[in-house]
């Protein structure tokens, strides 16, 4: 039995259905990215996993227990960092740590927080307020806060969406390093195909909403460790990338109209390894970044 199982998840409103028939599973220590166009319900799925939103149907089972409501077992990194502006970096993290281990004394708390501040490379900024930090540094605090409670699973809602490309790169590297060191189970939303290829073990492709579904599970066949600066020399990189881009540009819209069959259990695709569709040359130059 997998660590996380999502069965027949659906979100419906009286006037429309956002997504339905969402089935997938995750193993412990796995890094899964979900990609899809805006409005397909990625954030809703993440919020259901976090316990912040209720699904209209289906179940989520983590570690043999049904997910109902928020829990310290699942750490969330929010899109807009969500730091409390009246607290310093240290206090923001300590707020989370105190929720997890209320019995700890001040020293234990401080040592633990410091460990995670150092981990994300913010040593020296412990007593700064969020307003004194750059966007990238704020997001690092958000990541440190989520890691500091040592959750069983980490949920990242497009954490680097608001950052410039350079900062995004450095934090991605850091995330790769931290995840390799902690073997954390991560579920992450992204719009950035390259980011998904760099970070993920598997990539979930969602069709367009409303009435979205998970169309494919793409196995990221790129070998680890992956280096952001050399990854594009690997021919396998383009096979995976082209497959993702091809889906987003051409195939993601076919599922609504019924031109493509909605899979009850999405097929596992291993681009470039077995019967993958041939890469479309034109797809290479399509810029998908928002």
């Amino acid at each position: 039995m997998s660590f996380l199982q999502i069965q027949d998840l659906a979100k419906r409103y009286p006037e429309s259905t956002v997504f339905e028939g969402v089935n997938f599973a995750m193993d412990k220590g796995e890094f899964v990215c979900i990609i899809g166009h805006s409005g397909c319900g990625k954030t809703t799925i993440l919020n259901v996993l976090a316990g912040l939103d209720a699904a209209s149907g289906g179940t989520v089972i983590m570690d043999n227990r049904e997910v109902a409501g928020p829990s310290l077992d699942r750490g969330v990194v929010f899109q807009g960092h969500a730091l409390m502006p009246w607290l310093s970096v240290m206090s923001n993290i300590a707020f989370a740590v105190r929720s997890r281990w209320p019995e700890w004394n001040r020293i234990q708390m401080q040592v633990h927080c410091q460990k995670f501040i150092d981990l994300v490379g913010l040593t020296g900024a412990e007593h700064k307020k969020p307003s004194q930090l750059s966007g990238g540094m704020k997001q690092r605090v958000g990541i440190a806060r989520a890691f500091a409670i040592q959750p069983k699973m980490l949920l990242l809602d497009e954490p680097f969406g608001a950052l410039d490309a350079l900062t995004r790169g450095t934090i991605q590297d850091e995330l790769v390093r931290i995840c390799a060191a902690t073997r954390q189970t991560v579920f992450m939303i992204t719009h950035d195909v390259d980011e998904a290829i760099l970070l993920a073990d598997r990539i979930l492709l969602m069709s367009n909403g409303p009435n979205a579904c998970i169309a494919e599970l793409v196995d990221n066949t790129l070998a680890r460790p992956r280096d952001r600066h050399r990854i594009h020399h690997d021919p396998q990189y383009y096979r995976v990338r082209n497959h993702l881009v091809e889906f987003l540009v051409n195939r993601s819209k076919l599922y609504q109209s019924g031109e493509a069959a909605r899979p009850a259990h999405p097929p596992v695709v291993r681009p470039g390894v077995e019967d993958a569709p041939p890469p479309t040359p034109s797809a290479k130059i399509v810029n998908l970044r928002p």
């Binding site: 928020p70 310290l72 699942r74 969330v76 409390m84 502006p85 707020f95 929720s99 307020k129 409670i149």
Partner: protein
């Protein structure tokens, strides 16, 4: 920056000098009728020093000196030092305001957290808010049957609305993100209220507190004129009945300065809890 404030300060002094100059010119003794007036005064058997017109700057200065040199004298119910009168007024304001805080902040918290309660109580608040606090005075006097406590009640009723509305608004508009953080961390309701909602809403609550203290200080003067007995408002009315304009002007200035200090105090508090997003 420093030069700017120096310039502004200098200009303020110029404005003050111009104002005092106009005052001085306007209250100069009128020379041509002076002689006749003196004779008339002699005929009437009065001292020539007595003047019942608008006070001159010299007379104002004298009044300042006497009041400030002995602010706490007490010679019966109609003759108390300015310090004692101010003390009574500030005491009433403090008490009424404190009770208003104790009721409005927790109640505002509840209203802000519950959209149902917010909508259910909103019509009452909207009707009660614009009522002049002095309109409550007869009702207060009738039910409480004590003029002192009625004064405090009037302060309470005028301070409670801005505090209540701002607290409810501040609590209701705490960013969803922060509440979600608290949710995912399984923060208990009481800790959430004190560690997330209160600091997030504090600047808005203190804006309400600042409006309230301003209104309370405006209202206490009028309330004391009605109720009588003690206080700066009663002092003004009493000096008007004595036709002592010098003391009235002095009291007006004191009211202004004290109101400014009260506002400054809350503004400092507000500064301490304000955060930059």
């Amino acid at each position: 920056m420093k030069l700017e404030s120096l310039k502004a300060g200098a200009l303020s002094l110029v404005f003050l000098a111009v104002f005092l100059g106009i005052w001085h010119l306007a209250t100069l003794p009128k020379a041509e009728i002076q002689g006749a007036a003196d004779e008339y005064a002699k005929l009437m058997g009065k001292g020539a020093k007595k003047s019942d017109g608008f006070p001159t700057l010299g007379q104002m200065g004298e009044a300042f000196a006497t009041h400030i040199s002995d602010p706490f004298y007490d010679r019966g119910s109609n003759d108390k030092g300015i310090g004692i009168q101010l003390g009574h007024s500030l005491g009433r304001v403090a008490l009424g305001y404190l009770i208003a805080c104790l009721i409005a902040v927790p109640l505002g918290f509840l209203i802000g957290m519950s959209p149902l309660l917010y909508r259910a109580l909103n019509p009452f608040i909207q009707v009660l808010k614009p009522i002049s606090p002095l309109a409550w005075m007869p009702l207060a006097l009738y039910t409480i049957k004590d003029s002192g406590i009625s004064g405090i009640f009037v302060i309470f009723i005028c301070s409670v609305w801005p505090l209540l509305i701002n607290t409810a608004f501040g609590v209701a508009s705490v960013r969803r993100d922060w509440l979600n953080v608290a949710k995912t961390l399984e923060v208990k309701p009481l800790r959430k209220a004190f560690a997330v909602i209160l600091p997030a809403a504090a600047p808005t609550i203190l804006t309400g507190a600042r409006i309230s203290i301003g209104i309370a200080w405006l209202v206490i003067v009028a309330a004391e004129m009605l109720v009588g007995g003690t206080g700066i408002g009663y002092f003004v009315w009493n000096e008007w009945n004595n036709l002592n304009l010098t003391n009235v002007i002095f009291a007006i200035l004191v009211i202004g300065v004290v109101g400014m200090l009260l506002d400054f105090l809350i503004a400092k508090l507000q500064q301490a809890v304000t955060y930059v997003e």
